[in-house]
């Protein structure tokens, strides 16, 4: 049983409310930070903790905070990214719904560290009911003196507001989020300037994921060094993993980074094993990361044990590795079709492209169309090279990472499952049945051993 820092009190009676949360040690980090630490000391603890952004990019949080510009007389903002929309990811919703005060507590401590007096939570519009839960938590915290003017008599003021979005994956990209928060279309901005210099209302701004800000609570309570003792190498602390797909026990799990992937999938403590005939593949970090075939999931290509860390999951680069990403971990059994799932990925990115960069706006649509026809028995063999060509021309050629995120699932699917794409071109009648691999799995051609 690993340590739990965020979900330790999950499910305890009353934990959703302020009283229950306080009874389990809640808001200690605010008292400690505001009364005994300077803002810079809080930043220092976060640096020592080795905490990396939990939204998907994995950028060191302490470093991001230290980039924040501090010009005289200009307000600074903390904006929490609760626009959780990466397919496969539902951990932030779970945390906000079940323990809303941990986010509010983390925001107070973090805003103090950054010198922000107004902070916003930007939450995806589909999570309206979660926004209501957060609004209630904020009202409770305010009534108890944790928010507002002169918090704990320290002279520090903070207001937190919840902003609902309108349904757009792209607003999870931090500059698109800021545009949306300003009441505009969610078109990502050209960087630089980065939000740390010119963010919300052209003021210095830090944008962090919900889980990242929640993790500041145990870091301040126990110290950055204690936090950094959990994990392996540069993957410190715990991580919320959203587990779904063809597993026995889907759900949100808090793991210590460094847990072997095999144990995470097979153990009854976590996913509880695969449903159906056999494991086929897994997307370990949200839809934007490369898909891994079964033989590369538990072991790397060098036959080392694969771990749930930023480094181990990306071991082998894009040839044989993937990424931890947002921790959206979905598992495929062998009744699933890779072409069909890749088509669904492409459709998603086409729908969610903001449309400002041509390679992404046009390319995602082309990929969706080509994948549609392959999956529906109207494809040709040269469609596979066409897809490869399109994804290659999107990657790296767009303002924001959505282009890469659209390209990688297609590239990795072709890289690891080319036989299956070819089968679709050569067996149009077979694949017209949408459940073409339900009765019998697809069996790839035997590979010749290469030196």
């Amino acid at each position: 049983m690993g340590r739990k820092l965020l979900l330790e009190h999950d499910g305890k009676p009353g934990i959703q409310g302020l009283e229950g949360y306080r009874a389990n040690g809640g808001y200690r980090s605010v008292e400690k930070a505001l009364k005994t630490m300077s803002p810079d000391e809080v930043v220092e603890e976060v640096k020592k903790s080795g905490l990396r952004g939990r939204g998907g990019a994995g950028f060191p949080t302490g470093m991001k905070w230290s980039f924040l510009a501090k010009p005289e007389g200009v307000p600074r903002y903390l904006v929490v990214n609760a626009d959780e929309s990466e397919p496969g990811t539902f951990k932030d919703r779970y945390l906000m719904e079940r323990i809303p005060h941990i986010l509010i507590e983390g925001m107070i401590t973090s805003s103090y560290a950054l010198g922000a007096n107004t902070s916003y939570i930007y939450i995806r519009g589909e999570y309206f009911y979660v926004a209501r839960i957060l609004e209630r938590a904020i009202a409770e915290a305010r009534a108890a003196g944790w928010l507002g003017k002169n918090i704990l008599g320290t002279g520090y003021d903070l207001d937190i507001h919840v902003q609902v979005g309108g349904g757009a994956y792209i607003c999870g990209e931090e500059t698109a989020l800021l545009e949306s928060l300003e009441g505009k279309r969610g078109n990502p901005r050209i960087k630089p300037p980065f939000p740390a210099v010119k963010g919300l209302y052209e003021c210095p701004t830090v944008v962090n994921n919900v889980e990242t800000i929640a993790a500041v609570v145990p870091i301040v309570n126990e110290g950055g060094e204690e936090y950094a003792k959990i994990g392996v190498g540069k993957s410190t602390g715990t991580k919320l993993i959203s587990a779904s797909g063809n597993i026995r026990k889907p759900g949100v799990y808090e793991i210590e980074l460094g847990l072997p992937v095999e144990e995470f999938v097979m153990s009854d403590e976590w996913c509880g094993g695969v449903t159906g005939r056999a494991l086929k593949a897994c997307v370990p970090g949200g839809s934007s990361v490369p898909i891994l075939p079964a033989h590369l999931l538990f072991k790397t290509v060098k036959l080392e044990q694969r771990l749930m860390t930023y480094e181990s999951l990306s071991d082998g680069g894009f040839q044989s590795g993937s990424m931890l990403g947002s921790g959206g971990f979905y598992v495929y059994n062998d009744a699933q079709c890779i072409v069909r799932s890749t088509w669904a990925h492409a459709r998603f990115y086409h729908h969610e492209s903001c449309g400002q960069c041509s390679p992404c706006r046009e390319g995602t649509g082309w990929m969706e169309k080509v994948l549609y026809r392959l999956e529906h028995g109207q494809g040709r063999m040269d469609d596979i090279d066409l897809l490869w060509d399109i994804q290659r021309r999107i990657e790296g050629n767009t303002i924001c990472p959505l282009g890469d995120a659209a390209a990688w699932p297609v590239a990795s699917a072709i890289r690891h499952f080319r036989d299956e794409f070819e089968y679709h071109a050569t067996h149009p009648t077979k694949v017209k049945d949408p459940k073409h691999f339900e009765k019998e799995p697809f069996v790839p051609k035997p590979k010749l051993a290469t030196a």
Binding site: P87, Y129, K184, S244, P250, V283, R361
Partner: protein, 185 residues
């Protein structure tokens, strides 16, 4: 969602729009959250309120009223309303059933749920029942992959659905006096 174009309607034949007093008070409270000169920030939340006040969709009249309230040009409202998936620019059914179909839901049977709902309601995805009761949509990831297949209706998530549970939901919604809306008010 700029890659899929949404067109706005004309004002022709659509009723005038006025915020109710309660809604107006709610909008003003939201507008007060932002620094001076930044009221445009309230646009998305105010559009949600306008939509809930206008039978679940944004007519040009409703969008013009939002522009006037926020002191911005109508085009600034149209360009935003047409960008985000949750704003309906055409009338919708009393209950909009939005089934998530993105890959993780697909792995757990979203296609079967959609087929079942199409058959049960007698409409295809994108359609509205002739009695105006239900609109059926297939949407992209709703962040509920662990409890798939699922659908959203208004502010509520209905998770771990089976055909029987979906039927039960439809019966319940059919008899509900309230229109489902995102703001849950």
């Amino acid at each position: 969602m700029g890659a899929t174009v949404k067109a706005i309607t004309t004002t022709e034949g659509t009723p005038p729009f006025h915020f109710s007093e309660a809604a107006l008070a709610e909008c003003k409270a939201i507008m007060a959250r932002y620094p001076e000169g930044r009221t445009k920030s309230a646009l998305l939340p105010v559009l949600h309120i306008a939509q809930a006040e206008n039978n679940g969709w944004l007519s040009v009249n409703a969008m013009d009223a939002v522009a006037q309230l926020l002191g911005i040009r109508p085009i600034e409202v149209y360009e935003v309303a047409s960008f985000y998936t949750m704003f309906n620019l055409h009338p919708v059914g009393r209950h909009v059933l939005e089934v998530c179909r993105t890959t993780p839901c697909m792995l757990r049977g979203a296609d079967d749920l959609i087929a079942h709902l199409e058959q049960r309601l007698g409409i295809r995805v994108g359609g509205t029942t002739p009695d105006g009761m239900f609109t059926l949509r297939a949407v992209e990831c709703l962040g509920s992959c662990g409890t798939a297949p699922m659908l959203q209706c208004g502010a509520k998530y209905y998770e771990d659905l089976t055909p029987a549970k979906a039927d039960e939901l439809i019966d319940r919604l059919r008899n509900s006096a309230e229109r489902s809306n995102y703001t849950d008010r």
